[in-house]
Structure formats: structure tokens, C-alpha cells
């Protein structure tokens, strides 16, 4: 899908908006002429105030493939300008201006397209899991044989995005490892704590398997993980990162 050739401005209508975590919201937008998007792409949401003032932010798309429904999961930033509006004020029926689909660098495409059979390691921090939802969904929809593994780091169980979807995918065979930095679930075998290089080495596909690695999260998280992966022997060229900014 060469979606980049069809990047354009679209008007969508919000058809669903429900809490995802205590600070995040899942938003589904119906975009009648959406050309579809690759897994991992993002779009820009542009808001316009009555006096003409505009604010625009990028959000990863949680959905992938053909279709006119675009799904986002937006985390509210305390000092944000767009995310508080999307999480607290946006209502079903509202219209939104979207620019996309964007980005060909941080995408995953099925083996049938790329001819690349190497395993894939996804590493997410907090809301950084959103583009990976698109990837694991696309992987499942294509019945793709590529080995996939997801390492998901959050502060506490309530911060997990797409908990039910991930549980179902895990039951269907997707390998998911969770790391809780602040509070772990009751029955968790290890105490909560910040992710360490040793834990990363234990959970991630080893460098000897030459996996393609995607890391998404805050800048601090991404740089920490990427640095360790290189120390563990992964090639920098095999690692793609998407940083949100911030620490």
C-alpha cells in the first residue's frame, strides 16, 4: 500500500469516544474517503478556534489496512493544548480535521510485501503501544508467519492500553511481556520496578536472531532502551524508533 501518495487533509466524524485509561481515551473516527493506512503510520489532528487560531498534533493510528474507520488512543498531557481537548471535550458526532496517513519510516508490512522473514521485537512505553496495536492487528489479519514479540512497559496495570485486545492476542499466541515500574498486579511474580538492561535482555528477542526492533514511547524511554539494545549486540540499523518528546 503506497499510502504516502494519497496523504491529504480529510474531515472525519467521531463515532466512538470512550475512556481507555484514567488519562486516555480511545477515539474512532469515520473518514469517508480515507485511503487506508499502513501499520505504524500516524496522522495530524488540527483544531481551529473561532478566532482562527489553530493547534495541530500528531497521533499514531491504532488501526491499519483498508477501511474508513480510523482509530486513535490519545493520552492527555497535563500541560497539553490538544490532548486535553480530545480526551475531555471531544464528543461523538464532532467533526475533526485530519492530515494523513503519514510516515513510511516507522511502519510494519507483512512478509508477503517485504520478503523479510526476520522476527520482530516491539518495545512500548506507556501510550507508545498505540502504533504496535496497528502492527499486531495487521500481523493477525494477514495470518503473517513472522515471529512477533511485544515488550510493554507501564507504571501500573491501569495504564495498560488495549488490555482486552492484547489479552485476546496473547491467548491466540502473541508473546507479550509486561514490565510494571510503580505498581504490579497482585499475582505478579516480580516486584514492581523500573525496567533494567537485564530484564530487557531476558524479554527481548536476542541479537543473534537479528530481529527488526521497533521502540515507541517518551524520548527518555526510547533512548534508554535503544542504548541497551546496542550494548546487547543489536545493530543500530535494525532499530527504528518513534519518540514522543518529553522525558
Amino acid at each position: 500500500m503506497t499510502a504516502a501518495a494519497r496523504t491529504a487533509w480529510y474531515t472525519g466524524t467521531v463515532v466512538e469516544a470512550r475512556p481507555e485509561t484514567s488519562s486516555a481515551r480511545r477515539i474512532v473516527i469515520d473518514v469517508p474517503d480515507w485511503p487506508g493506512n499502513d501499520a505504524g503510520q500516524h496522522l495530524d489532528v488540527r483544531l481551529t478556534a473561532p478566532d482562527g487560531y489553530q493547534a495541530q498534533r500528531s497521533y499514531s493510528i491504532a488501526s491499519a489496512g483498508a477501511g474508513t474507520r480510523v482509530e486513535l488512543a490519545v493520552d492527555e498531557l497535563p500541560d497539553g493544548e490538544v490532548s486535553p481537548f480530545l480526551v475531555e471535550d471531544l464528543a461523538v458526532g464532532d467533526k475533526l480535521e485530519l492530515h494523513g496517513p503519514l510516515g513510511g519510516y516507522f511502519v510494519w508490512m507483512p512478509q508477503a510485501v517485504t520478503q523479510d522473514a526476520r522476527p520482530v521485537q516491539l518495545i512500548a512505553g506507556g501510550s507508545g503501544v498505540v502504533p504496535f496495536l496497528a502492527m499486531v492487528r495487521a500481523h493477525a489479519d494477514a495470518a503473517d508467519p513472522t515471529p512477533f514479540r511485544l515488550l510493554y512497559a507501564v507504571r501500573q496495570p491501569d495504564d495498560v492500553f488495549y488490555r482486552q485486545e492484547l489479552a485476546k492476542l496473547a491467548a491466540d499466541g502473541l508473546q507479550i511481556d509486561y514490565v510494571y515500574s510503580r505498581t504490579a498486579p497482585h499475582d505478579w511474580p516480580v516486584p514492581a520496578g523500573r525496567i533494567t538492561k537485564e530484564a530487557l535482555a531476558g524479554f527481548a528477542i536476542p541479537a543473534s536472531d537479528k530481529p527488526r526492533v521497533y521502540i515507541c514511547g517518551s524520548t527518555g524511554f526510547v533512548e534508554l532502551i535503544a542504548g541497551w539494545l546496542i550494548e546487547l549486540g543489536h545493530d543500530a540499523g535494525d532499530i527504528r524508533t518513534e519518540r514522543f518528546g518529553g522525558k
Partner: protein
Amino acid sequence: MSFVTRGFSGRNRERDPRLPPGQTKVEDWPVLSAGPTPKIDTADWSFTVTTETGAQTHWSWDELRALGIEDITTDIHCVTHWSKLEMPWRGVPIDKILAGIPTHAKYVMAHSYGGYTTNVPLDELLNGQAWVAFEAEGVPLDPEHGGPARLLVPHLYFWKSAKWVNGLTLMDKDDPGFWEQAGYNLHGDPWKEERYW
């Protein structure tokens, strides 16, 4: 194509008659950078004025400050549409730095640690219009705001107030600095909205 988004009004943006066109008053102080923040120790810091003939004068941190620091209260206007009003600053006037340096040049390129440059007409740095500033809002400048010292030229858009300034080069032509090469106005007067080429 754009339509008004139901329920969106943007951040609480106050209008104030002291604002140039297209500016909004803010109470915080946004950080905008084109690159990584340089970390310069004042023990290693130096300031150099280079004339159009190549003659150089250098000052250490203490030497520059010894020229005489004054208090300034001024408004600043960023080309990205925010302004801060009545901001207190402390710095050495450019008048004192350039006093006694003979030149026929009409323009100046300000240089910074990290490679940033910006051009300003010489006569707009003199007569009490510009400083090398060390403190803002009562505290020494944070590196992310340009510390230990930045140029302060408040009557022009704030990209001209070069962060991490370490020298001025006098030049005969109005050569464009970093943002001026990238699309921004050579002069930058906020009251005439001289933002772009």
C-alpha cells in the same frame, strides 16, 4: 477547508494593547531550540568581537561583566506568536562592549556556542537597544533559555536574541544568519510583522 472545531478555544490567550500584531501574551516562558542545548561553564566562557578587518577583542566571563551590568525591564516577542511583557533582565549593554572598537561596518553577525547565528544592523545594537544578558526574572539564565549568556535585542523578534552568544562579527553586508537563511526576515521588526522573507 478548515472549519471551526466545536468546543475548542486554544490555550487561555489574553489580548493586551501592548502586543504587536499577531502576538499573544503568555505568562510562562516557552523553550524553542534548533538543536541540543550547549552546556558551557563560565570558567570556559569567552566573548569575542571581530571587526570587518579581522581584528579581535576577547573578554572572559568576569571581564565582560566588569564593563558594567544594568537592570532592564522589557517586553519580548517571539515570531511563533507569543510575547512576554515587562520582563526583568540584567546584562551588559552592547554600547559598552563596542565602545572604543573602530569600525565602518553597518551589520553584525552574532555567533553562539553550538553554531547558531543571526544578523542585526549595527545601529540597532547600539544606543541602549541591546545587551549581553546573564539573568532573567531574577535568576541566572538557565541553559535551555540561553544561559550562561545570551544576546538581548528586545525590539526585534526574539530569534535575534541569540542564545549561548559568544561573539559578534562586524560585517559590511547584511549576511543572513541561521533562521534568515531558512525563511525568516532579515530584519525582524515585530511592529511591522517582519516575520518571513
